[in-house]
Every structure is written in C-alpha cells, then in structure tokens.
Symmetry: C2
C-alpha cells in the first residue's frame, strides 16, 4: 500500500505535521481568549505569526504541487480520494496568493478592525469607510486570483474559504424563497403572539449558572475527559477533537442566554469530538465547513433544546439549581414560552430564530454586490437601511444598529455570513430526518436521553467528516438537497401551530 | 549597523523565530499541566513533538554553522558578543547529537519514567533498574559526544545543559565544604531546638488559600497584567516573560505549604518578568541558568519571606484571610517558629533549609560517579543508603524513601541536581549583598514593601539576563565568587543565634 502510493503517503505525513501546527494554534487561540493576561498580547501575536508562517511555508513548499499531481495518478480508494481533494483545496488557497498580498491584506484588516471598534462606538461610518474601502479593494483582488485558481466566481472563491464547494447560485434560490416567505410569516406570528409570561427572576449567581451549564452539557453528551467549559468575552468552540474547549459568558440578570449559548457551543463540540479518529490530522478528517458546523450547534440550540420536550425536562433542573423550586415563573410552560418569543430588532446576534435569516440575507446580498463591484463602500449605509426596512419593517436609526454592528467585513471576512442561515436550515432538515429515522426521538430528549440523537448524528454527520461535500452529506443524511420547505415547516409548527 | 554585520543580523532573525516557537511550547506545556483534560494527552504529545522537531530543524539548518563562524568575524559590541556566544551554545547542544540518538534517548526516557512510577509505588528498584541502565548507557553516550563538542568533561557537558558554564571541579570544592559543615551543624541545631509551638489549626479552605496567595504575590511585586496563578499537580513557573504562569496546589490541612510554594514560584516569575525587554527573544535575553533561577525563588522563599520581619508583617494577613484574628497560634512568633523548624527526613522535596543540601550533595556525587563509570545502576541503592546515613544520620528503610523518590534520573535528567543547592547558596549571598547595599532592606520587607529589594534584583540579577556567566554575575553583584561561608553564616544566624 505504502509503496504503491509514494506521493500520497508523503502528503499524508506532511498534512499530519500541518495538523499538529494547526492544533497548537487552536490551543494558543483559546488561551488568548480565555486565559491570557492582557500583557501577553504582544508576545502571543508574535508566537501565532511565527507558527502561521511556518505552516504556510510547509504547505506551499516547492514539492507540494508536484506531489499532488503525482498522487492524482496513484491508485487511491474511498476516503483517500476525498483526502487528496481536500489537500489540493488547502494548497490552492494557500499558494494562490503572492505573500506580499497576504501581508498587505493582513495589515489592512487589522487597521480596519481597530478603527471599526471606535467607529461602531461612535456610530461614525465615515471614519472607517476609507479603511473598509482598502479591505474591499484587496479582497476583490484575492477573490479574482482565487476565482481563477478554483474556476468559480470571485464571490464563490471567497465563500469556498468557509463553505467548501458552496455556490451562490444555489444560495440565491434558497434565500429568495426565504426572503419571500419571512415578512408575511413574521406579521402572522406577531399578530398571534400572546404577551410573554413573567419568567424566572434573578439575580442568577455565576457559580450556579456554571453548574447548570456543566450539567446540561453532560446531558447532551459532552465528554469532560475531552474538553472544558470556560469564560471568554465572545463565546466560541475551540481546541481540538480530543480536547474541545468551549466558552460562554455570564449575565447575572439572565441565565438563559448563557445556557443556550453553552448548548450551542456544545453542539459544535459534539461535532468536533465525533470526527473519525482514524482520519485525525488529515484534511478529510476535519469538519465539513461552516454551514454543517453551524447546523450542529443550531440543531442542539434551536431544534432539540428549544423543544417543549427538552424544556419540560430541563425546567425543574433549572429551578433546582437556582434554589427556586416551586417559585412562580419556573414552570415548563413559562420557560418554553419565553424561549420562543419572536421580537424583531436591529442586532443580528440578539435576533430570534424567525428574524435571524433576514439579517443574514441582507448581509449576503450586500457583500455579493460589493465583490461584484455593483456596490461601493460609501453606498453601504443606505443600501443596508433600505434592505432592512423591506425585510423586517423597521427603520434603522443609526449605523451602530445597522451596518457597523458586525466585525466580519471590517476584519476582512466576506463570504462567511450565508453559512449562518444555511446552518439553521440544515439543522431543521437534519433534525426532521432524525425524527423520522429514530422513533421516539423527542420522547428520549424529553427524558434527558440524547444518546439516540447523538448516535444518529455520529453516523450521518460527525463520522462523515469531510468525505462528502456539504450538499452530498445533507442528501445522504436526509434524502434530499437543502430545501427551504423543511425550515419553513419547522417555523410554522413552532410559531403558528403550538 | 545591519549591513556591517550581515551574518549576525540573520542569526538574530533566526533566533527570534526559534524563541517564538519556544514561547508557544511554554504555553502548551503550562496548559498540559494546568488546564488540559486527560483525553488531550495523545494529541498534545503530537503537537509538542512537531513543534520541537521544527525548532530542531531550524536550529540545525545547514547554514547556521557557517553564519555563526562568519558572525565571529564581524564587529560586534557588548551584549551582541554574549548573544553570539549563547547562540553557539544552543547550536552546539542541538547539533552535536545524531537525530537517531536523540530519538533513542527520548524513547528510553519515556519507557523508564513510566516504569519508575510503578516501581516507586511498589518500592521495587529491581523492576526499573534495566530501564535506568539503558537511560544511563545512552546518557553516557550523549555526555561523551557533548564533551568533545564543548571541550569539557562528560559530566560537565550534561551540567552545561542546565547550568551554562558550570564546572564540577568548582562544585566539588564548595560541596565538600558544606558536607563537612552540615552534620555537626545539624546536631547542634537539633540539640538547641525547642518543641514546635502549636500553630494555626485548619481546615483552610482552598478559596481563602488562593486569596492569600494572590495577595502575597501582589506584595512581592507580581504583575497580574503579565501573569496568572493556577493549580497543577507539580507546582512550577512557566509561560513567558510578559505572561508568566505560576502554579501551586492546595492542602486544606496546611496552608503554609502552598503559600511558601507560591512565594517560591513568584521568585522565579519576578526573574522572568525582569529580563530586559530590549533583548526579548534573543538567547542573551534569557534567564542565566538553573542555579541563578533557583536563587531567585529561594531568595524570596527562604531569605526574604522566612525572615522574622516578613512573617511579622504577614501573620495578621494570614489570620485575617482565614477569619482567625486573635485566635491562638496565629501570632507572628508562632508562625515564625513553625517556619524555621529543622527536621531531618528521607524526602528531598519535604526537606528544610538545613538538611536540603545533604540530599543534593548525595545525588550530585552519585550521578557524577554514574557518568564517570565508577558506579553502575545496580549499586545505586547501597551507595545511596550509605551516603544518606553518613550525611543525615538516618537509615533509609526502603528505596521508595531512598533512590526511587525523584523523577530526575529516571527521566534522563542527570546533571540537574547540584543547581538546587548552588541556588540556595547563591540566594544567601545575593540577599546578604542586597542587605549591605540597601539600608533598611529588612525594615521595608517588614512593612510589605518589596520595591527596594526588587529594584536591587532588577539591576544586579534580572536585568543582566545571560550577558554574564553565573559566576561573573554573582561576582559582579556581590563582589566575590560563590562562597559557602555566606550560606553557613545565614544558617548559623537563623538556627543558632535567633
């Protein structure tokens, strides 16, 4: 075997080495967010830069292109073929750009992001506009170069960094369907929605919130031998498959926000942990991409754990943890009602499940127009506000609540936004398929038994790693391509019927 | 400047890169001990191995030897000359050994260390002896090769890994002096020592112990913007100069042990933090070696913080922290008396200041004989027990309390032990010099003001980094070479006079 595929075997060794550097970087990033004292920032930046440069040098070494071509002619099987495909993708993304451009864009992103922090606080778009224009100019250049290398449109070349194989032509159709549906649906939901019942009253001590989070993580199947829960300003899931580090933050006035955040990150963590051991450290052994990753967090947060069944199971645990057994507002029905409120607002990260897609569709359309050269930086605020009103019926009062709210563009991340809503739709479709395939799934969840769900996900999603494209994976797991109808049916069932 | 020293300038860039890898490794090591869940061990080992290999490849790259030679002919000044000297030392240690031998010894060390854990628990030296024999065989080989490369004796070549420029001929003289002094001195101390007064009674809750440790760290000058205190099984000082990570462990029956441990590690931390910013990332900007490092921890733990003055300052803080104000056993004199007890025992890490050197001298003499081929593995237990009785007057009952107690040899660390006692003696000599140079030093310490001490250490020790050899540094700071008389005078003043 080894002698029959000398080039492929050498590539596997190289990518194993690269993966070890990536894993070290993952821990250093986690540490920076969760542990590092402020004074370590300068040194840490230098450590990260050195490791990233070494990684880049190894990946773009003179022999890699030849090895990839040679391996193409070797007799490979199954996952090896997919692995070679992923290796080439990594290599193309890394080697397509001249290093001068990589450096230029890295500086432009940093400068823009730093200016954006002040601009957002002051709601002063004009001050950051020239920096964003420079980021856009360079990102268009990157998109053009990668477009040639990958043979896809410039926007799709950017999208491919986050969503391998993603195509805007398909997203356009799906998002158009949703954009059509949402305004009317939202009006209907709002017309029928009763006033929120008074929920649990705080304060909710941090230590108890943490205990609750840990307990629910355990219920969901998080393995504490292979991971941790800590605190960071921006919650995330980091670390590595056998050492998954999730974070949250606590607000003593509202425990549900941290708890749902912990459930969300646990969904990401279970995916990482469920990647196949036998392909650990190889490109095909990694998570498939951002939409599938987000589907795993949202499947837990929005599908499984905002179900009546789960919240009926969890409500007494919540009351017990905060020593509030029998007090008003802690009954399952009140907890549920407060977890499925729909309330249009300006801020994406605060949005509910129904209005969230509108925030994303807006950003997706604008960033596509920016890359296509159909929109310039100075036109963003007006375009944003107009689009927001048409999708959500609200007039944006200032740019802080509008086009200045998210870090993404200002940090150079263009092509990322659609994966949030693709993830939400994928989550609905996977959960729907799991319910059909596993009789009594929601009954188990209502008993705090996530093993049937996790077992289905391990087989159909986690264990598939990057062997299939996101659409192949979804089709293989659910029997059909991504279909907005399933997501819409989920929303109707939760917000109109119940 | 840059153009006048092209080779040296390239070396500076290379070593800056190497330092960034070392700093990343330091954080990964800290994380492994203080944060990582058990299940991450396999992945972490792979990450560390990859970074170490990359480091080794960069340091032993084909051009480095030539650059070192070329730079030797360039016009360098002051610290640059010392920096080049340290670069060469790093390079010689890294490139002297064939990589096959490096790998062989790494495996032998791991196998021996794993067997040792069981052997120690069972007090079964015979079971680990063949593994230790293999470690010794390979270590002798390493010593021989490095001896040729460095032009020093085989044992000194090992010593040089921990104590750059250290020479056993000098240590022999100093240790002979001490070994001569200690048995009689110990007998005298024991004859005069009164029974220990009843000290504070526990339990001492972990949270309060931690609060006490943090408060005392602050008193000593630890900067929390540039460091942390956490928990690990084996306390250590890790991290990097602008992000120093110290650890401790807590015993609810005895808070003094953790507190003195925290003070010890804070001494290490202050040294790292005081290294000159302008040489950060260069070999000359690093700490000088293990004896100077240990001197900084012991200066805080044994000299400054076991003084009557400091303990009179700290006793009320201790009582207040544990809510024991006015309770018996918390007065300064009782706290002091319990901190200067002399009590010969079998275990080095539990030893007091007076008996500790005997533990070290024994190990130093045996390991020197092992490397010289004058002692074989099977002779260790008998030689250990005989030497122990002659130095400390106690019969070793079993090898668990004798030659199996320390990990060092079983993990391949031969040549390390003498630095503990060199550190203790250096600490005494530096503190003595600081007291002479800074009037009222102990009075300040008695008020919890460590700034005069820290300022003297910054100038004479920390800020010198690796610009001088350990003996040059000591001579420059104290006006004389390492002198056992100062250490002996310190012991007499504390244990016979007071």
């Amino acid at each position: 075997m080894t002698t029959a595929t000398p080039a492929y075997t050498r590539l596997e060794a190289l990518f194993a080495r690269l993966a070890n550097i990536e894993e070290a970087l993952n821990i250093l990033h986690w540490d920076m967010s969760a542990m590092m004292p402020q004074g370590g920032a300068g040194g840490r930046a230098a450590q990260l830069a050195t490791l990233k440069t070494l990684h880049h040098e190894l990946l773009t070494g003179s022999e890699v292109g030849n090895l990839l071509t040679e391996a193409q002619g070797e007799e490979l099987h199954g996952w090896q073929i997919a692995n070679l495909h992923e290796m080439r993708r990594d290599w193309v993304h890394a080697s397509a750009l001249p290093s001068s451009l990589v450096e230029e864009i890295s500086h432009a992103n940093s400068a823009c992001e730093m200016t954006w922090r002040k601009a957002r606080a002051a709601s002063d778009f004009a001050s950051v506009a020239p920096f964003l224009a420079e980021v856009l100019r360079l990102t268009r250049e990157v998109a053009k170069i990668k477009s040639d290398a990958l043979g896809v449109s410039p926007y799709d070349a950017l999208l491919d960094q986050y969503e391998p194989g993603g195509r805007s032509a398909e997203i356009d159709v799906i998002f158009a369907d949703l954009a059509d549906f949402l305004p009317g649906f939202l009006a209907e939901v709002q017309a029928r929605q009763k006033p929120a019942p008074q929920g649990p009253k705080g304060p909710f001590p941090v230590e108890r919130q943490k205990a609750l989070g840990l307990r629910i993580m355990e219920v969901l199947g998080f393995e504490f031998d292979h991971g941790r829960l800590d605190v960071s300003q921006h919650p995330f899931c980091g670390g590595n498959p056998d050492d998954v580090r999730i974070t949250t933050r606590y607000d003593e006035a509202d425990f549900m926000r941290s708890l749902m955040g912990v459930i969300h990150e646990t969904g990401h963590a279970l995916y990482e942990r469920g990647l196949p051991d036998s392909w650990r450290g190889q490109p095909v052994g990694r998570a498939r991409g951002m939409s599938i990753h987000e589907s795993q967090s949202l499947l837990m947060e929005m599908q499984a754990c905002r179900s009546r069944q789960f919240l009926a199971f969890a409500a007494p645990i919540m009351a017990e943890t905060f020593g509030a057994k029998g007090q008003p507002g802690w009954d399952a029905e009140t907890i549920y009602a407060n977890n499925v409120r729909v309330n249009p607002g300006f801020i994406r990260v605060d949005a509910d499940e129904v209005t969230y897609p509108a925030h994303v569709i807006l950003r997706y359309r604008l960033e596509k127009a920016l890359i296509a050269g159909e929109l310039e930086v100075n036109d963003i605020p007006a375009a944003w506000n107009e689009s927001f009103e048409s999708l959500l019926g609200l007039k944006v009062p200032d740019d802080r609540l509008g086009c200045l709210q998210d870090i993404h563009w200002y940090d150079g991340a263009i092509g990322y936004f659609p994966t949030y809503t693709l993830g939400a739709m994928t989550a609905a479709q996977l959960f729907d398929a799991a319910k059909s395939a596993v009789p009594g799934l929601l009954t188990s969840i209502g008993k705090g038994d996530f093993r049937p769900l996790l077992s289905w996900l391990r087989e159909h999603v986690h264990g598939q790693a990057a062997n299939l494209s996101a659409s192949e994976l979804l089709a293989s797991a659910t029997g059909r391509p991504l279909d907005a109808a399933v997501f819409k049916a989920h929303l109707k069932a939760r917000y109109l019927v119940a």
